[in-house]
């Protein structure tokens, strides 16, 4: 329309398969898992009696962050056993998000629905399993009816609570992560395209070409912003997982 051809969505979000069923997204996910495991393995090899340096420093900081920022705020002291699970979730999601701004890779693996969906189904299984483990089959009663619901309202409340816990929760977890990363990615593509098309514009109005500094500045700003988003989305996914797990352990509406 304005001499700017936006590429089809597949050109932005899809790559050729490296070999069948294994594409760049899968490569990034495998690399993220590998890097996360290696980081913590390296950290665990170091002498815990010395002042932490290098990888151990990073590992201790992240464990501290998960314990103080997520577990203690939501699950309380009795939930400290959940730290490893939540830490792995956080590290994996963050390492999948951050390639969105790393040159050459330039693609957050979580911008495709596969990884967010798998992770939220994992969280779904974990919090329902926790509920059954802690409350037996009574969990499904607590799940449907918060205490002190009038009998007349029970069918309605039960239906709403059932749909919200079983379907809406994993759906919103998935969509929140996927859409945030995809929106960021498309935003970066848009400003990259604007910069390129202004810089290479075949026009006799020569003052247009230096104007490409404007979208370029925005591109730099948004790249910084994406680092924040990558961190924040990993944090939000993890803290929501912790909140859902807490709901299953404590029962509905109990003060914890």
């Amino acid at each position: 329309m304005f001499g700017l051809e936006f590429p089809p969505i597949n050109a932005i979000l899809r790559w050729k398969d490296l070999f069948p069923t294994f594409n760049k997204i899968a490569l990034i996910a495998v690399a993220a898992a590998f890097i996360g495991i290696m980081l913590f393995l390296l950290a665990s090899r170091k002498n815990p009696m010395l002042a932490p340096t290098g990888s151990r420093n990073l590992a201790e900081t992240s464990v501290d962050f998960i314990e103080d920022g997520i577990v203690m705020q939501t699950l309380g002291k009795s939930g400290l056993g959940w730290t490893p699970f939540l830490l792995s979730l956080f590290i994996f999601i963050f390492l999948c998000n951050i390639p969105g701004i790393i040159p050459i890779l330039q693609m957050p693996a979580t911008a495709r629905i596969a990884i967010p969906l798998t992770l939220s189904l994992l969280v779904w299984v974990v919090y329902i399993g926790t509920g059954i483990k802690h409350q037996g089959l009574g969990y499904f009663g607590h799940l449907l009816w918060p205490p002190d619901v009038p009998t007349a309202l029970k069918p309605l409340v039960g239906l709403i609570e059932f749909i919200s816990t079983i379907f809406v929760t994993p759906f919103s977890l998935t969509v929140r992560l996927m859409a945030n990363m995809m929106a960021g990615h498309i935003l970066l593509v848009t400003f990259g395209l604007l910069t390129e098309s202004l810089l290479l514009a075949e026009t006799n109005q020569i003052f247009l070409v230096p104007m490409s500094i404007l979208p370029f500045g925005m591109l730099i700003f948004l790249t910084g912003f994406e680092i924040l988003v990558a961190f924040l989305q990993a944090y939000i996914f993890t803290i929501l997982a912790a909140v859902y797990i807490n709901n299953s352990t404590a029962g509905h509406g109990d003060d914890h």
Binding site: Q73, R176, A179, A183, I239
Partner: protein
């Protein structure tokens, strides 16, 4: 809106027409979906800053709850964004 309708009426090619409808519908969907969460997040963060300014010692707890609230509110806008993508490209 009338000018837009007049413009659409001039288009003959059905494929173009479909593209126009998809693009305008997608823009409308995202624009409408962004209104509510915009108001909601503004109100939420404003109140949280108020709370933190009143009681700086409870800032950590307020911040955690604020992020939770933002996550829930933001989901609506993001569903609008997904609808935008589906309308525009699917």
């Amino acid at each position: 809106m009338e000018a837009f309708a007049a413009l659409v009426a001039q288009v003959d090619d059905p494929a173009d027409l479909k593209n126009i409808e998809a693009a305008s519908g997608a823009g409308m969907a995202y624009g409408l979906a962004a209104i509510g969460p915009g108001i909601g997040i503004g109100y939420l963060v404003g109140k949280s800053v108020e709370a933190m300014a009143r009681q700086p010692e409870s800032a950590g707890m307020v911040r955690t709850t604020m992020f939770l609230g933002i996550a829930f509110t933001e989901a609506l806008a993001l569903i609008g964004f997904v609808v935008f993508i589906l309308l525009k490209f699917a």
